[in-house]
Amino acid sequence: MTERISELEYLKKTALQKFAYNFTYFFKSIPQKFIGFFKAVLPAFFLRIWLVIKGAGVTVGTAAKNGDWKTRVSFGVMGFSQLARGQIVRGALFLLSEIAFIFYMVCFGWSQLALFPSLGYQLPERGHYDEATGAWVPQVLGHNSQLILLYSILTMLVIVFFVFLWYENVKSGYAAQELQEARRKLPTASDDVKELLDGQYHKTLLALPLLGLLVFTILPIIFMIFVAFTNYDVNHQPPMQLFDWVGFDNFAALFSGKVSGAANFGNAFGRILLWTIIWAVVATFSCYLVGIIVAIMINKKGIRFKKLWRTILIMTIAVPQFISLLLMSQIFDNEGIINIMLKNWGWIDKSIPFLSDGNIAKITIIFVNMWVGVPFTMLMVTGILMNIPEDLYESARIDGAGPVKTFFTITLPYMLHVTTPYLITQFIGNLNNFNVIYLLTGGGPLMSEGASGGAGQTDLLITWLYKLIMDQKLYGIASVISIIMFIITAVISLVLYNRSNAVKNEEDFM
């Protein structure tokens, strides 16, 4: 369906047409990319993991078969082989990590993991006054499904990490044995340090950042994915209630549009999705085009005070965004300064509902978003503008092209060519643009034709998701929606960053 056109035809197109072609091709091919992703990329990924595991298994097997008693003891007592062969620091670290792991599992990890299949069964007992004695019987918290789930995941990650350490221990223990048998010198602790600062430098550098990533990003995401398979909602809220596994019920509920606890859910979802997409397109391109035009105007020969203009615009980057957005919500209020001034000048009688009428609010939001976003584009574009070869403009001028024409035939195509990745990152960023909507309108006003799960007319999927959690407590459903959103945006950007054909083909511009 989305076959590429032939080389020859492609070369015949003008620059702008080329871009348009590539751009539409990119979006048209997204479904294909999706299928490709699940057909090819994912299996390849799992195959790769399987190969890694298999390779590790072989290493462990060899060590078990050919290892001497010291190596074999280190299967149980980590670091033993190294300690026995004089690699004291390395061995001690392995041993210590094993002790710490056992300690963690005994004191904490195991008790959580054991409850993982059931997510807990013990209900809390409310605190109350004993009727006979009148004494206060304290509240006893039962199992907390949420914490059990969270700490189980934490424990699983700790176990995975430990297995990895154990494998490294066996490998290094066996390596030490082999070196000894070959009568070569074993690396000392200072050799290890040197290696970590040179050959294995990436491990040193990335250990801490990746640990942070694991705990503060990946763990919560795994948690959320698990929540999608539970009935965590208003009626199953820890700590006073338990929640439980429900399989794919939430997915089924979402796709059938019958979500308990929110009437008109399906209707709201469709409208919000539509507005989210319109918003992302308009917000991205409005900032982009205006940013370029402003940059061109400032950079034009003969325009003075370039630095001043730029500095004025850059103010918006320097002031924390939440302040400027909260301020904007005041400025555009029905009784805000804009309405007041317009009234004082006698231009209007009644306030313009900048933020309280659905349609006007959408326009206001896009305008405010431009106020926030244009300086970024302007900054970024300024550097690129200088790179456009002057002779291109020269020849256009000789052909008698005016500034508007040169903009559309030279500047814009060149810009688009260089900044397509930036543009699509912006697009994805706007799909998930929480702050602007949340701080300006909070998603309001509500949809006027009926209560649609609290959905407002300016809600994006992401702010609506926030409401589903905060007001409606639909944790399970919200998790399902965010997983779906995540898969879509992730695949789009993966395809993009790994240089889709569309992006690659642009190298031949000019």
């Binding site: 029905n334 309280s356 509500l446």
Partner: protein, 423 residues
């Protein structure tokens, strides 16, 4: 001890021990967190200081959080096991707070005391089953009309009030699009809304909004339902040129502009309005209105809500927390609170004091609560979003001029089905 070890271990596993030292040195003096709204923060801190003076061996140091009575729930639900030990809440949050395990029942002795001291309605506002879960201290959570007595008379109907404002070049302020205010005309025409709860979940919702409306003489309308009378009244109000749809912020703006003729709001704006209106400062219950549908006169009702102190049972020392909550809602403290911020006491003796009786705003809210209000029981969140959504529609009709009676009827059907929908 075991817990400490666990926390240390997890810590070590997570951050390679970098933060271990910090988590180990917690503790110190025992603290008790108390929440109250920002306006009462100062007097709250004074009361707590006084409490410590009177109970020198209490053993806790107080910390304070600015959390309004309406925000107790949203602040606690993230994690009910932390948060304040003693906090102020509005009675419509009772069910939610109870079901998240954040409210401790009152000891028998305290129940007897509050029953003896406070109005029956305010005590009942904290009741679930046969147990009580709050120390009432404020009985004025409703709305009524403040007005400029130089242009408006107390016996005017709503339409006359609006016209009088317009003639004087001033405005009346009302929140057309806020859930709390939208239903008021429907309740005024005899509406009821009842919820049967199963835990925190509404199991069955009954409303008579589709029954015939009842006017001030107790006679039922021949043709129009409660919803129709209420919806039409809201639209007529919103459409009037002298009406400004806006919240407390707008009130302060219109004061700044010197354009305020009347405002429908609650006691929390009393000081601001008294300062502005000066000698012409007056307040009374919500005016009756003549329906544009059938020409009959209907009343206009407010919600009647109460504010109570609750004790969080997850706070270890519940007895001590109860002691403080009881103190903060005691007669002396209610008077002190009235002196400081002029809120309406629930204590019968304090309410009977001359200075309270002569308070114009409180006199008005008492008039409102005396037959012109419906108790604001806990509502499911769908109530608020349905009402707000209807309010938004009314505003849209006004803005676009697209109102027809048929549209209203259709929209009211949706409203009723939204209101009664249970999950």
């Amino acid at each position: 001890m075991k817990k400490r070890i666990i926390s240390l271990l997890a810590c070590g596993a997570l951050t390679a021990g970098t933060v271990m030292g910090l988590s180990a040195c917690g503790g110190g003096s025992k603290k008790m967190l108390v929440w109250g709204p920002s306006a009462q923060q100062e007097v709250l801190q004074q009361m707590c200081a006084q409490f410590l003076e009177e109970n020198p061996d209490f053993g806790y140091e107080f910390e304070f959080g600015v959390v309004g009575e309406g925000d107790a729930k949203s602040n606690l639900e993230k994690d009910p096991t932390t948060g304040a030990a003693v906090y102020a809440y509005a009675n419509d949050q009772l069910i939610d707070l109870y079901s998240m395990g954040a409210l401790a029942e009152l000891p028998q002795s305290a129940v007897e005391k509050i029953k003896a001291d406070n109005t029956a309605e305010s005590v009942e506002a904290g009741k679930i089953g046969d147990k009580y879960y709050g120390y009432p201290y404020q009985a004025d959570n409703g709305f009524f009309m403040y007005y400029d007595s130089s242009i408006i008379r107390e016996d005017m109907k709503l339409g006359e009030v609006l016209d009088a404002c317009q003639d004087a070049g001033k405005y009346m302020i009302y929140q057309v699009g806020t859930g709390w205010y939208v239903g008021s005309f429907m309740y005024g025409a005899g509406g009821t809304y009842e919820v049967e709860w199963n835990g925190a979940l509404a199991q069955k919702i009954n409303t008579n909004f589709d029954k015939k409306a009842i006017d001030i003489n107790g006679a039922a309308s021949d043709t129009y339902t409660i919803a129709e009378i209420g919806g039409q009244a809201l639209y007529d109000l919103a459409k009037h040129d002298a009406l400004v749809n806006g919240d407390d912020k707008v009130v302060s703006t219109y004061i700044g502009k010197d354009k305020l003729g009347a405002v429908i709001t609650g006691t929390w704006n009393a000081t601001m309005l008294r300062d502005y209106l000066g000698d012409h400062y007056a307040a009374t219950r919500l005016p009756d209105h003549v329906s544009s549908l059938d020409g009959r006169t209907y009343s206009w009702k407010s919600f009647a809500g109460y504010k109570l102190y609750g004790v969080n049972p997850n706070f270890g020392d519940v007895e001590k927390a109860q002691q403080l909550a009881a103190y903060l809602s005691s007669e002396a403290m209610q008077e002190k609170r009235f002196d400081a911020v002029e809120v309406g006491p629930s204590n019968k003796k304090v309410a009977a004091l001359d200075k309270v009786k002569n308070n114009i705003a409180l006199a008005a809210i008492n008039k409102q609560f005396d037959g012109y209000s419906v108790t604001q029981n806990p509502m499911p969140s769908s109530y608020w979003s349905s009402m707000e959504s209807f309010g938004t529609q009314v505003i849209e009709w006004v803005d676009k001029g697209s109102f027809t009676y048929e549209l209203l009827q259709k929209r009211l059907e949706t409203l009723i089905s939204d209101l009664t929908a249970v999950s």
